[in-house]
Amino acid sequence: MIRVSIDPAPIELAVELAALEERGAGGVASFTGVVRGDGGVTALELEHYPGMTEDALCMLAEQAMDRWSLLGVTILHRVGRMEVGERIVFIAAAAAHRREALDACAYLIDRLKTDAPFWKREWRGEAASWVEARASDEEAAGKW
């Protein structure tokens, strides 16, 4: 089971995790990205490429399902404006055994960073600046 969603609405963890647990999995691994207030950041704004983003995330989920023995994968990404402390992204993988779930979860967040068309803008009060891509993300994605 693959669930992918790109939505301006807040991400509800409990519902999402319970849905994966109901797949009969022995283990569910998850990663949640949260807006940090470092360096005076007051909010983030996420832009994406409608149509392509959904395909890119589904493809990522399918790649994970092919590579590991998984019972379910969920990828949720918010778009629009988010305040500090709000969830940006949620990744979860369910499997019979923990190793598959943990590895798939790490793979999905690493690859999402480089393979999905999202762009992030940081707000500091009234001032906005586009976030630069990081070489470390390329490296992390390349390791898989």
């Binding site: 994406h48 999402l112 393979d115 999905a116 999202f118 762009w119 803008r121 630069e132 891509a133």
Partner: protein, 84 residues
């Protein structure tokens, strides 16, 4: 005719998120398209001056800038992605 999509600061520099254009025959690759677009307006020039800062998708697939356009319906130009 190609539908062009721009995202993030590329969109802001050009001033629109989307436009439909009909480039001349000589514009054969994504890189050619970028060079040709740079001549369209000061905004385009600012957005497309430095191809090293740009990434592209052709018909919703990420591609290298030297990819031929042949028959592309939708080309998107944008900075490196920063999701997650």
């Amino acid at each position: 005719m190609i539908d062009l999509l721009y995202f993030a600061w590329v969109r802001e520099a050009v001033g629109v998120g989307q436009e439909r254009i009909d480039p001349p025959e000589a514009v054969a690759s994504v890189a050619d398209l970028i060079a040709w677009l740079a001549q369209r307006s000061p905004g385009h020039a600012a957005a497309f001056a430095d191809p090293a800062r740009l990434r592209a998708a052709v018909d919703q697939r990420f591609v290298a800038l030297d990819t031929p356009l042949n028959g592309a319906k939708e080309v998107a130009l944008f900075p490196p992605v920063t999701g997650g």
